[in-house]
Symmetry: D2
Amino acid sequence: MKQIRLGMVGGGNDAFIGGVHRIASRIDGHFALVAGALSSTPEKSTASGQALGLDPDRCYGSFEQMAEAEAGRADGIQAVSIVTPNHVHAAAAEAFLKRGIHVICDKPLTSTMEDAARLEKAVAQADALFVLTHNYTGYPMIRQAQAMVAAGELGKIRVVQVEYPQDWLTGTPEKDGVKQAEWRTDPARSGAGGSVGDIGTHAHNLACFVTGLEVEELAADLQCFGAGRSLDDNAHMMLRFRGGARGMLWSSQVAPGNENGLRLRVYGETGGLEWAQEDPNYLWHTPFGAPKRLITRNGAGAVDASTAVSRIPGGHPEGYLEGFANIYTEAAQAIRDWTPGGDKAPGHLPGIAAGMAGMRFIDACVRSSKDNAAWVRL
Amino acid sequence: MKQIRLGMVGGGNDAFIGGVHRIASRIDGHFALVAGALSSTPEKSTASGQALGLDPDRCYGSFEQMAEAEAGRADGIQAVSIVTPNHVHAAAAEAFLKRGIHVICDKPLTSTMEDAARLEKAVAQADALFVLTHNYTGYPMIRQAQAMVAAGELGKIRVVQVEYPQDWLTGTPEKDGVKQAEWRTDPARSGAGGSVGDIGTHAHNLACFVTGLEVEELAADLQCFGAGRSLDDNAHMMLRFRGGARGMLWSSQVAPGNENGLRLRVYGETGGLEWAQEDPNYLWHTPFGAPKRLITRNGAGAVDASTAVSRIPGGHPEGYLEGFANIYTEAAQAIRDWTPGGDKAPGHLPGIAAGMAGMRFIDACVRSSKDNAAWVRL
Amino acid sequence: MKQIRLGMVGGGNDAFIGGVHRIASRIDGHFALVAGALSSTPEKSTASGQALGLDPDRCYGSFEQMAEAEAGRADGIQAVSIVTPNHVHAAAAEAFLKRGIHVICDKPLTSTMEDAARLEKAVAQADALFVLTHNYTGYPMIRQAQAMVAAGELGKIRVVQVEYPQDWLTGTPEKDGVKQAEWRTDPARSGAGGSVGDIGTHAHNLACFVTGLEVEELAADLQCFGAGRSLDDNAHMMLRFRGGARGMLWSSQVAPGNENGLRLRVYGETGGLEWAQEDPNYLWHTPFGAPKRLITRNGAGAVDASTAVSRIPGGHPEGYLEGFANIYTEAAQAIRDWTPGGDKAPGHLPGIAAGMAGMRFIDACVRSSKDNAAWVRL
Amino acid sequence: MKQIRLGMVGGGNDAFIGGVHRIASRIDGHFALVAGALSSTPEKSTASGQALGLDPDRCYGSFEQMAEAEAGRADGIQAVSIVTPNHVHAAAAEAFLKRGIHVICDKPLTSTMEDAARLEKAVAQADALFVLTHNYTGYPMIRQAQAMVAAGELGKIRVVQVEYPQDWLTGTPEKDGVKQAEWRTDPARSGAGGSVGDIGTHAHNLACFVTGLEVEELAADLQCFGAGRSLDDNAHMMLRFRGGARGMLWSSQVAPGNENGLRLRVYGETGGLEWAQEDPNYLWHTPFGAPKRLITRNGAGAVDASTAVSRIPGGHPEGYLEGFANIYTEAAQAIRDWTPGGDKAPGHLPGIAAGMAGMRFIDACVRSSKDNAAWVRL
């Protein structure tokens, strides 16, 4: 099977998430990175690209140049990964989509609702796929959880508890030149949401993905604890799902002792599930009235939904990169299966709809909090 | 040292919490149970009392009889434990307090705000101590946590996460003759709060005890998931503490896989703490920027506040009963130290103030939820 | 029900295990401590006794005095707890047994094989019960494990892994005046075994209790890591059980990070069990081919064997003291049921047989190790 | 940087470890798989190769053909991965080594001591590198542990506990056509060791790698529990290290509830370390006298030795494949740095010496067990 030719926008030397996307694209061997507009200046972009072994001719100074040039090559890229700060997502995605190049975009969708609306239209009109890397949905045990809920193993869902605490903004690293902290605490680059945009969207997406439910309204209380910070670094909210389930969501970047503590708990009329991202190969299932069971990736009790996206036997831990790679591998499948005019988000792939849901979530959080945590409908 | 003569109201054959109080009173040997009005009828009360080895003459048909008779004996009880359903607490406590008999009362304080107000006055006027068994504050590692927060080891507190999930009301055991479920789901006996009264008060109390903070206002969304149930069996709320800290509280009796999942997490400007009731000998402490540390009861890192209420070496687990016994033992000390007109709630002992705070908490939860989770000041 | 009148030998002010026995005897209310020879001198003994509220007349200077005096009282003790260093066990036990006073003795049985043999005869000839406090067998989840193995839930047992690491002798506290360390590292008071006598016997006993198997032979490699220490502080051994199962046993007092890490794992043809003393309310069960299940004390999956010795609901942790109290409570039952000439070790109670097995275990360890870890039959 | 051209021997459709090697070689992008002799017949080999996208001309029917053909190409492979059953390792490795093609070989080294000795000579004479994939040494927290021991953070090492339990041979899958089980239970293909060869070697290697110690002698008791099985499926052994440390090692394939339970614990005069392969991002460190600390990959407390082989931030779990990839990436570095006549196993890379140590370990286990677990020197 031939590899898909991939380009990348963003992900230069200092970035974290660009490297993640590159590894994720390599793990199952479906993509070959051949072009990039990796940094904000031509010089840096070329330097970063050459460090990755890219042909200097295909290291571009801007995504516009790259889109145009690659669209004109017979061996041009078939897909592009967009891994810039949020405020660049929309314009970059549009540049490639309109040229029929598939887009794999990091989340959240954009930094503003206006950009999101424009991008939504662009996706609708494009002759190409748009995939949003809500990577946590790629974890096998999350697929298992989704399948178990869908199969009715928990009964009707009553309560959803989801949280995503981190601690890296406990101090104020944005004042010390930490680039990740600078743009993530800057409304101009991140958008209106701080923790809710960066990680709250993951929590929201995961809760909805696993339960199949949609948030109908939420009441959010957002805080900025870091001195001089203008975006929330901690957020508390109550959720009401369509159909009657209720939930809570906590996102935080100021909770010492939490590295990347995304955690989901779902309770229904006949059972409960618990999952934690830092120990992703385990899913705890309690059928009410029976002992708690530990279901492991590719272990006893694992269903097709999880084994299909697992590579190695139980007890041999897969991690964050493999979960991320599952999104890339399913994107590769979708790209190969794609025919102009076809379904643009087949299977489990998160796409523009998930992206818009995330934007509405951020917007609702911010509006609710400004209104003293009044309920806001999504 | 002579044992304190103890009576008990409630706690007959079917009860759970009465047995707990009896063991707790025995563990350190400070009390001798010598009288009881254990059940709601004279026959049952006598049967229950004799099963416990009480003198039949001191098995009473009602708490009024008991208060009067014991007050008239030279060897009458010096203290009484009240372990009835909530709606009996106030009248029973008053009967003993006005006769100068110390009261050790289960929580929540009463079933109505009116009763609470009346009891508050009775305590103020009494020549006796009033202790409320917020037993979870008796755990050594909770004392350790309190001491560490007070010593500034976390810096200024920013975020408090507290939860108390259980699963025993996932079905509707109150329809199947389970007495514990019957009265706890009955507003006439429990009061206006379901899960918030039964366990939410523990969570609220524990968060305040450890952090030394008070809830200024809360926004609560209460639910009744059990068919035909009129009291909340699940509650979500956001908390705002005086001084700027924020929190979330979740109480549930319908979360399968949670037996008695009281859990507290506190995050400050320089560190975090985590504690879970089901594994009570462990306290996790993260000084921000350093590895997480596991502080164990009577182990390295334990401070006087926790070792003073520990009995046996680290690695030899103490449990729920020993934590409860710490309240009894401190009550014994207070009773022995007590002189008429003295301080009525010395040291760590929860008393009428904690009881009133709990009642205001329940009331605020119910009022907030009825008003679509509007903020209510406590 | 009337309380059983109890005396105590050893357990004065500085001792650890005496206090444990006293609490254990009180938890369920079956015993009243009324007499003691608590320390090695009359003065200390009286001081310790009075601190416990004993009648000064019943604080004795030696166990001989106590045995004689109490046997002569109409209200004399019915049972005695022996909680001295090991070398005193035999003589003390004999003094009471020959007077028809039941003995509850700490382990190991004695400090020498000669003493053990003499005591075995004394027990055989006595008109009284002899109970050895192998307290870890009192844990509910150990009872559960035993019942599950007996019911064939694991199939034929193949492999037994048992370990008991501690770290308190990592340094040389015996040189710093720590009394617990002094006598436990002194062959004259402890006997020939160091870690194998103090804790290895617990591990051996527990493995046999749960599996119902007997060790046929063992090969042991004992070490003294502490400078100047003459008894083993770390021991490795391989076990061969009658019937074909094989095992390993590790005991250590020099393993930093282990407080009291007794842990048992049992594997059979169709399933496995895991239990750890520091988290005693949990039992992990894997039916081969199915997910691991977490069985909790008084939770779903708990069988009569464990619920019968539990006091409070699942999720309310019981601990070391409650497990120890189960031995006392069963001893009370046995004492009440006892008739001269009757069965001396009914039910689950460990007695002289378990004590002799433990002595043979220690002896085999020491002999094997001296012979370069050659196999020694028990 | 140009990718290294890689071939593979073994690893056809049904194999597990071949796929692992391929992913590991891709994760950091240093290798391109361009040729293979993947299966035992030309037809299967070609089918497997084409499924992987190999040029049909470079899918060979045997490793001999492949070695000869690739050595003759200008664009021939620079390195080869050998992932066959053990009995093929030696001959395959020799075929490539003698042609100056670097070899990356799965463990154990060979199936017989004779083959091992021959291969050792071949490696010594070759103008190429020989790397043995003791992949568990690639885990970042294992590197951290090694560095901490080397830095003296535990003091002099006293006790090493290492175990590697699995459960996949609890039944007899080798009778049901499970290929992995067939060859691993067949002495002709696996060699003299069953569990000791397949996983015991990993445990032995890991213990030595982390502690820097060598096993001087061992006493092993090997068992075959599976009906009709001729190789050990469970092994118990005691270890004596040069310099005075002592240890135990357990390997098992018949321990239900253990998927891939490699676990190492190391105790020294001043501290202890614990690590478990199934939760590989955590390292527990106890400085004696202080609380246990949880050191996480790329978290606070992580040293250069571990961060240098980590890709993503703490809390984003890396797993088995990334640990394996570290071996490949270090092999790539070594290949690029290699000059004829240079050092053949630079840095942390396990090579022929580790392979020979593993073979002596297997041989010692088997000989000791045949001699009733007598001590055998390595």
